[in-house]
């Protein structure tokens, strides 16, 4: 496996910088993450984080909105700023020799955004358009609404915002969110690619030395949780979502959970794909994934199927989710391990994937898991470990949500 060249460095103000020098690439990528996600939004103002991420790119430092875009384009930077449940993260990549100039622009965005009224008005109308378009994509809407039902506030807030709260948000809300949350304490900067780590850290020290502020407080999250398990929609297919408890990334059992989910849904030989699609032809799209917050996690499962076959699809799917505690085969374990090995090695071909992974590890663990360590962890999981895990965290107390013309019967066998 690869010998990764990873270093970390904490600035005096708390900003954590992690670098990875990669061979055989010409690019460099960064991910800069600040504690400004949905869990820091005031109750009743869901959408503040997404509006901030829209607005931060509408002018910063010496650049107005258009000049900032032009400056990024001239450096050939591919970038996006996205709000998450915990953090708000800027991801970007360009050719490695342009990294210092790119970081200068990034420091403007995080330290000196204009956050002006005129731009705010446009962002707010644009945000409303985005949220309306989600209403037209039932599959996307399903996952948002499923999260809303399975987690509790403030963790269940849609990172995209909501049409209900949007009218309540003004520029002052977004500015306060920025002031409280764009801070170096809790901020993580991951840099990966064809870089000189020492030089780039010194450069960042200079760029971010005036950044100050303490970590923000979590929002109390007093809003009610929706209870309904069906949303009526005039569609050809019924969208089915199922959620249940799992362990988060930082948990010692994480790779047991990861293995269980991969046996269910990793690759085309996985159980859900085989039993629901290949053997019964019930759907085109089906899958399950491990959705992890810092302290808790869920398995989120999705299937889309035409309305008259939806009931059968739901039953077969739940049955497979439950059955994993009946045993897993050596061949299933083996496939998980080889798939993991390939994916980990191929991650080393993408600077963007590595930069994100550095930030994710630091956020969840406060350290970096090397690809070698991940591989060893996965290879150490035995069949009995998966069973023990599945019995401790069974597919029960399910949150089931459907979107379609008719609700389904959800019966949980004892």
């Amino acid at each position: 496996m690869l010998n990764q060249k990873i270093k970390n460095h904490t600035l005096n103000n708390g900003l954590e910088i992690i670098t990875e020098k990669m061979d055989a690439v010409r690019s460099a990528a960064i991910a800069l993450s600040i504690p400004a996600g949905g869990c820091y939004e005031p109750s009743g103002k869901n959408g503040v984080a997404s509006l901030l991420s829209d607005l931060m790119l509408r002018g910063a430092g010496d650049y107005d909105s258009r000049a900032l875009s032009v400056a990024f384009d001239n450096l050939g930077v591919q970038y996006h700023l996205s709000p998450g449940w915990h953090q708000l993260t800027f991801s970007a990549a360009t050719l490695a020799d342009r990294l210092p100039e790119m970081l200068k622009l990034v420091s403007d965005v995080f330290l000196r955004p204009h956050l002006e009224q005129k731009s705010f008005e446009m962002c707010k109308i644009g945000r409303e358009q985005t949220l309306r378009s989600i209403e037209d994509e039932p599959r996307q809407k399903l996952m948002i609404e499923l999260r809303r039902r399975t987690y509790s506030p403030p963790w269940n807030r849609p990172s995209e915002g909501s049409l209900q709260d949007l009218p309540e948000i003004d520029l002052q809300d977004v500015r306060s969110h920025f002031e409280q949350c764009s801070v170096p304490a809790g901020a993580i900067l991951g840099i990966a690619g064809d870089i000189n780590a020492g030089q780039i850290v010194s450069h960042c020290e200079e760029l971010f030395k005036d950044w100050a502020g303490d970590a923000p407080r979590l929002s109390r999250g007093t809003e009610p949780k929706p209870a309904s398990n069906h949303i009526e929609h005039d569609s050809t297919q019924t969208q089915i979502g199922i959620a249940y408890r799992a362990v988060p990334y930082r948990d010692p059992d994480y790779y047991r959970a990861w293995t269980a989910v991969n046996i269910l849904s990793g690759g085309m030989s996985s159980r859900l794909f085989t039993k629901v699609r290949e053997e019964r032809g019930l759907c085109y799209a089906i899958g399950a994934s491990l959705n992890t917050l810092k302290e808790e996690a869920r398995i989120l499962c999705y299937a889309g199927t035409t309305n008259d076959r939806a009931q059968e699809t739901l039953e077969v799917t739940i049955n497979e989710l439950k059955n994993i505690d009946q045993g897993v085969t050596e061949s299933e374990l083996q496939r998980c391990q080889v798939r993991a090995k390939s994916a980990l090695i191929m991650q080393e071909e993408s600077t963007m994937a590595r930069a994100s992974s550095l930030v994710r590890d630091w956020f969840h663990l406060g350290r970096i898991r090397t690809l070698q360590e991940v591989r060893e962890q996965i290879e150490s999981v035995r069949a009995e470990d998966v069973l023990a895990y599945a019995r401790q965290y069974p597919a029960s107390n399910l949150n089931v949500l459907t979107i379609g013309p008719q609700p389904l019967q959800v019966e949980e066998p004892v």
Partner: protein, 410 residues
Amino acid sequence: MKFEQDRLANGLKIVAELNSKVHSVAFGFFVRTGSRDETDQLSGVSHFLEHMVFKGTDKYSAEDVNRIFDEVGAHYNASTSEEVTLFYAAVLPEYLPVAFEMFSSILYPSLRDDNFKMEKQVILEEIGMYDDMPSFTAYEKLMQVHFAGHPLSRSILGTVESITALKAEQMRAYHESHYLAGNMTLVVAGNVEWSTIVDLSNRYCSHWPAGETARDTSEAHPTGGTLVLPKQGVIQEHIAQMSPAPPSASPLRFAADVLTTIVGDDANSRLYWELVASGRAEAAELSYNDYDGSSGYMTYLTCNPEDVKENLDAISRIYEDVNKNGVTAQELEQTKNKIASRIVLRSERPMGRLSALGNNWIYRKEYRSVQDDLDTLQSLTLQDIDDLLQQYPLGQLSTVAIGPLESLPE
């Protein structure tokens, strides 16, 4: 980086870009069949066949196929377009022989009746899924309206009716007549020796039937049209428009790529600043969709239904201005930087090179390195953009709208 190419006696074309510095190797079989090669009765057969390939052969059952690809950790899949069915995988070099043998075997599947019947259900589900996605439906209907009477108008998925009526023997006959070595190109990129590729293709592909099918690639002469599809439960209006652009073999294609990025990229383009940044539309984009013999500039707009007229008029004004005055030197330079960086970043992974290598060979019988593409891009001038606009001005000839509106405002 080294380029190699060969052609087997049965007509299979092989192109490879070898790079020992990367960790993986990607390969793809580009089969020259898609919806444009079908008839009304066979509508959707190419895409259905793409699914059936994974159902296996007499030697490998469907379960074996899925299991063996997963056993070597392959990142693999397939896709079907109007003109190409592509089967591709990225693997670690030590697993290439297994993944290669598997793909080259299943390209000649058994096409058993029971598999056919089961997979038909999956295809019908896929049609159902896309039916609930207005952006996809808008594209499919736009191709129908814009290329009416031309093979490019055909639906990739087919319809519920054509798929339901399709028989296994029709599919077998279609497979026999189209999966000929002369219709196929094997494209390889990444960490592998050329001798390995030669050995594998000789061993697993040399017995494939020779032959090639003809395809009518005469340029379409669209006359335009408008189709409004009111849809219950959809709250935004989704609009797609098309007008003629240079075909995929035309030297004007580089300019077309740059022009559409200047005018309609998803960020920092003319459409973006006028319509998206201002909050007037959720999306307003222009792309260059190139096909064999005929291509299209495609406009895509999503917005509140009441703003459709104003937004379409704004797009018309932008296109008229570009057609009359061209673009600025500054826009051209900025966009070159943007595209150059995209090319380099995408090319760092072997998988990111497959489609460029394949398309250059299939459509133009040429190899272009990343550096060739960068050089051509840098050499483009304002005169090149003007020449393009002279022959292929931007336009909104054909229109499809899906959403709450019953008709488009005059």
